[in-house]
């Protein structure tokens, strides 16, 4: 009995020691496999470009705040996480961080004192970036960004997520891939695209599914689940590969145009993707947006047709007619039969002017509703929210018009919006579930405002 108690006590002690070690023994920072040469200097503009490619501004800037001074609320499944001030202000920003400190945040998700960052910071993806890019980014922030004194709100998640050491265990599950980039066996342009998509662009953070532990299921291109579609803050981040996806229907040029301008012949970027376009993608070179588009189109081994240019000042662009899948709906709408269903009538009274009886909209300006991933997505909040509150595609360099769709919250009741949405989700060959007035009421109350 004594022996047994000793064993139990001993095991308990080992457990406590292990737990204490787990909590208090500092995490080792991952060391670079290959460091740049001692006299290495970033190219002119490289650091700022990496900042844009990594979309730092979107999260680290609040709505009315100074650029990179933090304070933006990031909704996560664990609660609200407040982004930090990453200007070189020594008191409230990262002014006293060494390069090794900065690198540890990007690669291992660690603050200088060893505290774990919440993985809202996509170090799962940033750890794939090259040493040169991380160095260039660090030097840009330290020498060219104006320090801003801005004390941001501490992130205070509820138990158990407030125990940051738990992330150490989470990292064992999430960071199964080493640091650094491994190019696939594809042409150079697509490799560049792969690098941008996997690393700085951190596309997988939204577009890959999440595992049961909420880590990214599919971080690199060699995994089948990579970019197979995810859900973020109630929005479908559509699959970027596979049959039946938007991308399968888009050309490389159309995809590049979507990335660079938030709009193309079929669709527009709303919600989170609108922010990515606004703060990141529109600032990249045409070649890089083309590289990402080419990589994504070729991800499953398909041949890639590279256009010479995209999003040019195209002049007149013909408006498509209804296709066979949509013709029955188009004819029903055009019949103007007063007995048509309420959803269809609401469409005629509110939507048809821009999106047309064909459901095809008009290239570059009015998105197609037939097969639109937002219209038929598993998440219905975005579509309901757009109808209630409107939407805006940001002004971009190549397409400077901020395309605003007005909201209809004042014009339609919850019942009517539900009828309309349900109808849209079944029109022109769309085949998605119905929504209820209660679903609409929830969105109206939450006022997502995307």
């Amino acid at each position: 009995m004594k022996t047994f108690l000793r064993i139990v006590a001993g095991l308990a002690l080992v457990g406590v020691v292990a737990l204490l070690a787990f909590i208090f023994v500092p995490v080792q920072r991952t060391q670079p496999a290959e460091a740049p040469a001692a006299d290495w200097e970033p190219a002119e503009g490289q650091g700022e470009y990496v900042l844009h490619a990594s979309d730092c501004v979107a999260c680290h800037t609040s709505d009315d705040g100074e650029s990179l001074a933090g304070g933006r609320a990031i909704a996560s499944p664990m609660g609200t996480i407040w982004s930090t001030n990453i200007t070189p202000d020594p008191e409230t920003g990262i002014g006293d961080w060494s390069y090794a400190d900065f690198r540890a945040a990007m690669i291992d998700g660690l603050e200088p004192d060893g505290t774990h960052l919440y993985p809202a910071m996509p170090y799962e993806n940033y750890r794939l970036m090259t040493e040169e890019d991380i160095r260039a980014l660090y030097e840009y922030i330290m020498t060219e960004v104006e320090p801003v004194s801005n004390e941001v709100q501490e992130t205070e998640l509820s138990f158990p997520f407030n125990l940051r050491f738990g992330i150490r265990a989470w990292n064992w599950l999430a960071l199964t891939h080493g640091p650094g980039f491994t190019p696939a066996d594809v042409p150079e342009l697509q490799q560049r695209g792969q690098y941008l998509v996997e690393g700085p662009g951190h596309c997988a953070a939204c577009h890959s599914p999440r595992s049961v532990f909420m880590s990214q299921d599919g971080v690199t291109a060699d995994e089948d689940s990579f970019l197979a579609g995810g859900v973020i803050d109630g929005w479908n981040a559509p699959a970027l590969r596979g049959e039946g996806t938007d991308l399968a229907k888009w050309s490389v040029g159309e995809l590049a145009a979507y990335l660079a301008t938030g709009r193309n012949a079929h669709s527009t970027a709303n919600g989170e993707m609108g922010l990515v376009v606004e703060h990141s993608l529109q600032k990249l070179t045409d070649e890089d947006n083309l590289a990402m588009a080419a990589f994504l189109k070729g991800i499953d081994g398909d041949a890639v047709d590279l256009p010479e240019s995209f999003a040019t000042a195209a002049g007149a662009i013909e408006v498509p007619a209804a296709d066979s899948a949509g013709s029955a709906t188009t004819e029903m709408l055009a019949s103007a039969d007063p007995d048509m269903p309420l959803g269809a009538r609401l469409y005629m009274d509110n939507c048809v002017g821009c999106h047309f009886a064909t459901g095809k909209g008009a290239p570059e300006i009015f998105p197609e509703l037939q097969g639109n991933s937002m219209v038929v997505g598993s998440e219905t909040m975005p579509l309901i929210s757009v109808i209630l509150n409107g939407a805006e595609v940001p002004s971009t360099a190549k397409r400077p018009m901020a395309l605003r769709m007005q909201g209809y919250a004042d014009r339609m009741s919850d019942d009517e919006v539900a009828e309309l949405v349900t109808w849209l989700r079944g029109a022109w060959g769309n085949d998605a579930s119905a929504v209820t007035a209660a679903d609409v009421a929830t969105v109206r109350e939450a006022d997502h405002g995307h």
Binding site: A313, A314, A316, G353, C354, P363, R399, M401, R404, Q406
Partner: protein, 589 residues
């Protein structure tokens, strides 16, 4: 003591079509620019939202998009013997207000002048002899030719996004287009708009009579469109709410759809709304301007905005008013013909026929402002002035604009204007009428002019501008000629009844009913400083760093809607500033 703002390279007065053009083209030069706009800011969303915007009573009748007479107006008289009275209620013409200006609430009819209209005096003298020119007419040539302006017409049409079909492509006459138009170096940026039933009916009748019908050139999108600045339009849905409304659908060409989004991205450009320019300030020697003084509505104070270049791009009436108030030339004296400012104020001479067909359905609610099939068979280049006894011409158009019930309710002649008979006539006729319009030239005359009113002042204490204007025999004869030609065409369509509306001999100007907002002249272009206020680059003869945009430059009005010529002249002017003036600021002529 006025507040003083930091000096700018360029100050732009008024942010409509021409102010936006000057803004973006000069911003591309890296110049530091401020635009001052009297009115409010406005964008498609939220300002033109559906369905609030398509409220005929509010916008069509109560004119909520327009300048308020309490803000700014003119006094009007028909001749020098009358006492001018303030235009206290908008009627005959409707100046706009706010960012985008009249470019937000126009119909979208975009035309180029004919080649001969740019050199009308020479054409008349060469073709018919100087002795046919009536007494009292200030017939002139523009100091810039059609050929010189052609690239700039093309540039404006690409920016504005115009739908149509070229009838004269580099000299080649094309079936289905306007054979009498000036040559085009390129086809229209967008294909023509589809045709409504009334237009088709008109086309068939015109063809049968040997005329040459063609689709109207429309600042209305027939497809998706991306212009050279990357700005965009979406295809029109024929809702019929163009004139007097902002377009909720990005389909009507406007500064908002064509320029402003691109312009606002330039860090060297800013604009201030609720900022009404009161005068242009001149240097002590009077040879250049030093900037402008404006009224800051929010701060309720006068502000001096120094600048190296002043662009006057407010509405024609405001431009002339500002130039008169600022001494940018001498006021025109109709008795002596001396002076230039206010000279050659002109307008438009229009008429038309409504036709009623009991058994035809026209669905007039399907339309747009620039809808229709036109003919130019009675245009300036086609008329025999010697034989007919007038100088001028018109284009005809048939196509429903809208079916708005308050203002668009044509009824047969003899219908009671109220009561049961009126109601019955509406029931019988709504949707069963179509019309043909004649949109005619208006010459400039010694007696029609603008100057400062001796009695009335505005809210800033400035004298109002006075308009002295009446119809003149030459244009009325032209109008009656059109009536004589149009009635047989209308009759050939076999309506149950028809009703003509053409002003004739003895007609006097009535400022109450709406006619057109094509007010032109007053700071006209000229070969020399004696004859006009600005040179061929729309540069002030008086102060070389002042450029005046808009229809105030028109030597006399053309037979067409003015926007195409206004846009072409604006690009011609900014091109001269960019290529000639900036490197060496001086009088360019």
């Amino acid at each position: 003591m006025a507040r003083q703002e930091k000096k700018k390279d360029v100050v732009i007065v008024g942010l409509g079509w021409t102010g936006s053009i000057a803004g973006i083209e000069l911003a591309q030069e890296g110049l530091d620019i401020v635009a001052l706009e009297r009115g409010h800011d406005q964008n498609t969303v939220p300002n033109f939202e559906y369905p609030q915007q398509i409220d005929e009573l509010k916008y069509g009748v109560r004119l909520k998009m327009m300048q308020k007479p309490s803000q700014q107006t003119v006094t009007v008289r028909r001749n020098g013997d009358e006492t001018a009275l303030p235009y206290r209620q908008l009627g005959s013409f409707l100046p706009g207000n706010g960012v985008g200006g009249a470019g937000t609430h126009w119909n979208g009819l975009n035309w180029r002048p004919q080649e001969v209209e740019m050199r009308l005096r020479s054409y008349v003298e060469e073709t018919f002899g100087a002795d046919i020119i009536p007494e009292g007419i200030n017939l002139g040539d523009y100091p810039v030719s059609y050929d010189e302006l052609e690239p700039f017409f093309t540039q404006f049409e690409k920016v504005a996004g115009i739908s149509g079909y070229a009838g004269n492509l580099n000299g080649e006459i094309r079936e289905g287009g306007n054979p009498f138009e000036g040559w085009r170096s390129e086809d229209f940026p967008m294909p023509p708009m589809p045709t409504t039933y009334d237009s088709s009916k008109f086309r068939d009748a015109a063809t049968a009579m040997g005329y040459h019908p063609f689709p109207a050139s429309a600042g209305i999108a027939s497809t998706s469109y991306v212009n050279p600045y990357g700005m965009q339009m979406g295809p029109c849905n024929f809702c019929g709410f163009c004139e007097r409304y902002g377009c909720y659908q990005y389909s009507k060409s406007s500064p908002q759809t064509s320029i402003l989004g691109a312009l606002k991205r330039y860090p060297n450009f800013e604009y201030r709304t609720e900022s009404e320019v009161l005068r242009v300030e001149l240097a002590e020697d009077g040879q250049t301007a030093t900037g402008v003084t404006y009224w800051d509505e929010a701060a309720q104070e006068e502000v001096f905005q120094p600048a190296d270049i002043v662009i006057l791009s407010s509405y024609q009436l405001n431009n002339v008013h500002l130039m008169l108030l600022s001494g940018l030339g001498e006021a025109y004296d109709p008795l002596t013909g001396e002076g230039t400012l206010g000279k050659n104020y002109a307008y438009q001479m229009n008429g038309g026929i409504s036709m009623f067909f009991r058994d035809e359905e026209f669905n007039p609610f399907v339309g747009h402002g620039a809808n229709g099939i036109c003919i130019d068979d009675f245009s300036i280049s086609q008329n025999d002035f010697g034989a007919e006894g007038f100088i001028g011409g018109s284009y005809w158009r048939s196509g429903t604009f809208n079916g708005q019930p308050i203002r668009n309710m044509p009824l047969p002649a003899g219908t009671p204007s109220w009561g049961a008979g009126w109601k019955q006539a509406i029931g019988e006729n709504y949707g069963h009428a179509m019309s043909i319009g004649s949109h005619g030239s208006h010459m400039a005359y010694a007696n029609n002019h603008l100057d400062l009113d001796p009695t009335y002042t505005d809210r800033h204490g400035r004298p109002l501008m006075r308009m002295t204007f009446n119809w003149q025999d030459n244009d009325l004869k032209m109008n009656q000629f059109m009536k004589s030609k149009m009635e047989p065409l209308a009759a050939s369509m076999n309506p149950d009844s028809m009703r003509s509306g053409f002003k004739g001999e003895g007609a006097e100007y009535d400022v109450r009913p709406y006619q057109t907002t094509h007010n032109t002249g007053g700071h006209i272009m000229s070969e020399n400083a004696r004859e006009g206020a600005v040179n061929r680059y729309c540069q002030s003869w008086k102060a070389h760093n002042v450029f005046a945009m808009g229809a105030g430059n028109f030597v006399q009005n053309t037979q067409y809607n003015p926007t195409g010529l206004v846009g072409g002249l604006a690009y011609h002017t900014v091109n001269a500033i960019r290529t000639q003036y900036l490197s060496n600021p001086r009088p360019l002529v």
